[in-house]
Symmetry: C2
């Protein structure tokens, strides 16, 4: 029985798939929080290189992947596709379960798929340093890795509470050469203002974004890089789905359902968009985004213009949102705690082209343990949402006595998330469903955008 479906290096995609021309409607504009008008290219070019800006709005369906990016991708790509024979047997399901494993990257998740091209385009544009924010640390470590590959400096504003609670992620960024500041920091005006009010401010992703953007905007040699949400990030992640399609073709298979966890949306976009592209050719595939019940952006939020960050510094985008004041509780799947959602994923969901589901975290950890005992790999807590949903789909197939082909993205490993597993194993983990009335409350502060 074949377990791993591998591709040779020359099968690393040469082009990313851009879903913008295939959207169910026109691309929605991004609004400047300062002017209330669509963000101008000049505003964008203060923090992004031209190639990234171009990708953000491109109508080209296929965009070439630069050779130097493909060279770095070779350090771990093509990522393996696994057939989960042992899990299927344990579940007694007639379904076939495949998982695309992105934990093989040096940073342990799918994030480097976008960090590498972002670092590359900035390097080519003559930029010397990248600034970014990080919460749990997956993105920060991936950008640190990417900068070390292209000889760029890297400054990371890490939410202060994570900086001290997750020192190992910080060490990972540092060993790849990045400078990591606990945020709020004394290195930016935004940070200094907050520290003046409260020196004990423990930080938030919104604050860290503000600091990183300010750093980039105020230094000519420095740009900003974002790890999810934006169109170009979703674009870069399509290598996941493009490879998976080719791998399934090798074994003569095609999925009935494609599943991924969904925070900012880039991992989901990465595996799902290339399959959505096949609909034009008459292929019918369900795409299921899975989010935590504690941060149910798609399943309980609204489709509206909202700020990208709590501090109202980041652009306003039309997306599913729980409101920028939304304060997610401290659940462990740190990568899925964003109040908003990729505008592309949001638009597809609004049009009914994709599905969404929210899950309780203990159910996800339970699924992750079953998976780890059968397949070996310990999933990241974020990825455990996709694992659980895949198991549920497989059990449904068993109940209905139907054959079905399930593909999910195992977006990262959990080696650096053992504290979360420890809580689960010791019974300390509690479930939390974000109450609908709190959503109503935080939605009151949506900005008024007249389009």
């Amino acid at each position: 029985m074949q377990t791993k479906i591998l591709l040779p290096e020359d099968k690393i995609p040469t082009r990313w798939y851009n879903i913008i021309p295939d959207l169910p409607g026109p691309l929605q504009p991004v609004i400047s929080p300062r002017t209330g008008q669509p963000v101008t290219p000049e505003e964008m070019l203060a923090i992004f290189p031209p190639s990234i800006l171009e990708q953000e709005m491109s109508n080209q369906r296929w965009i070439d992947i630069p050779e130097p990016v493909r060279e770095i991708y070779k350090l771990w790509r093509p990522a393996p596709l696994f057939r989960a024979h042992r899990l299927e047997q344990a579940l007694g399901t007639p379904a076939k379960i495949y998982y695309k494993y992105e934990g093989v990257s040096p940073a342990g998740s799918h994030k480097p798929n976008s960090a590498i091209p972002q670092a590359y385009y900035n390097k080519v544009h003559g930029i010397k340093r990248l600034a970014t924010e990080t919460g749990a640390g997956q993105w920060g470590s991936s950008l640190a890795l990417a900068c070390s590959m292209f000889g760029l400096e890297c400054t990371i504003y890490m939410v202060k509470v994570s900086y001290f609670q997750k020192p190992y992620r910080k060490s990972l960024m540092q060993l790849w050469g990045a400078t990591v500041h606990p945020s709020p920091s004394p290195h930016t005006e935004a940070g200094r203002a907050l520290l003046a009010q409260d020196p004990e401010n423990s930080g938030s992703l919104g604050i860290a974004i503000s600091e990183a953007v300010e750093d980039a905007a105020t230094h000519g040699d420095t740009n900003y890089a974002l790890g999810s949400v934006l169109n170009h990030v979703c674009l870069h992640q399509t290598v996941i789905g493009l490879e998976a399609k080719e791998q399934l073709q090798l074994v003569g298979d095609y999925p009935d359902v494609v599943i991924a966890c969904c925070g900012g949306g880039s991992n989901f976009a990465g595996i799902a968009f290339p399959f959505l592209a096949d609909r034009a050719a008459g292929k019918n595939v369900r795409c299921l985004a899975v989010e935590p019940a504690s941060c149910p952006t798609l399943t309980k939020g609204v489709y509206a213009f909202d700020y990208g960050d709590t501090a109202k510094m980041a652009p306003i985008a039309k997306m599913y949102t729980l409101g920028h004041d939304f304060m997610p509780p401290g659940i462990h799947a740190g990568g899925l705690r964003y109040h908003g959602e990729s505008p592309l994923v949001s638009q597809l969901y609004e049009a009914g082209q994709i599905e969404a589901r929210s899950l309780m975290q203990t159910a996800c950890f339970e699924g992750a343990l079953l998976f780890a005992k059968q397949e070996g790999i310990v999933p990241a807590p974020e990825s455990s949402h996709a694992v659980r949903a895949a198991i549920d789909e497989a059990l449904l197939a068993k109940e209905e006595g139907k054959e079905k082909t399930i593909l999910f993205s195992l977006s990262g490993h959990g080696f650096m998330d053992m504290a979360a597993y420890d809580s689960y194993l010791s019974g300390a983990l509690e479930d939390y469903e974000y109450p609908a009335e709190l959503v109503q409350e935080s939605l009151k502060s949506l900005p008024k955008v007249v389009m």
Copy 2:
């Protein structure tokens, strides 16, 4: 440029290479600490299944790998062989550097290569539970994984100080279903006796071995499993070198030097033995075992009969040893702290067929950082010894202006060893060379064995 050399699953070796018939002399007997006489098969069968005992003394050069073991190997094998193009360029060396990456296993190191067959043979023999000891936790987690794969229970005696200092390794074992006891524990006579003397006893690997062996010997349904040192463990690890040879053949290459870190010896044996086998065919390859200067078994120890453990409960074997009373300082490469050495590796070293070198830990971490910045992967602190030695060989080639092909075993990743990197990055790590006079002191307690 090709970076990864991959093999399809049907190229997972079908046979392990057993070096015993190719040793420079007869296999040395193992002595019972109780009788002072060679250990009898009956004594061995109290804790090992017959197939393992057979492998321990077999004169067959090739031993078939059972199909169910190869099926589990498919979860991560064949492991990739990388050509370190970026590292070579950074060093400006004319040498070619290849590394075989064993960190792709679900446990993150080469250890499952032997844990899986050990669990399998015990399962087939009707055993219900395996007991073992673990220090840093690499072996414990690998055996936990293997037991979960074959539906065996698993009890792990974990050195108490590590149990509390490295809670995440413990969680990893638990999530794969193992029961983990801090050792000394109240679950064995050996443990109870020590706790009665000192309830605060923080444990040692020697004590944990005694507890695991007692557990196995006193329960009919339970056997013992060891993660290194013994002949059958070295045998199982030869999949590393066998695959690497085949991968190098694909690119028309053959190493001038094969490098691995060496603690108990199984990782070194795994990559080196299959190349040593080629000497009969006239191929000349240097094999270099790298150990920490703080635990210099081969480079400063003696070749003599010694106890396998501090408590003098384990068999006496002829090996390189620093004396069973040797107390290694708390360096971070936990997997390289054993006072002894695989008898097979020892015999080859004594006969001058392999080389050994000891390195300071800060030099190893420095090499690991250089490696991580170029190749991405963060090496385990143990593996960083091989990384450093490979870099040194490559720099020597540059100095001499010689082409050279270097192969090393990157035996595991460092995601769970960030505390060690943190110490290094913060400058808190100190070098320590084990003083020769202390070796002389601990060698005074070698057992007298008349053969």
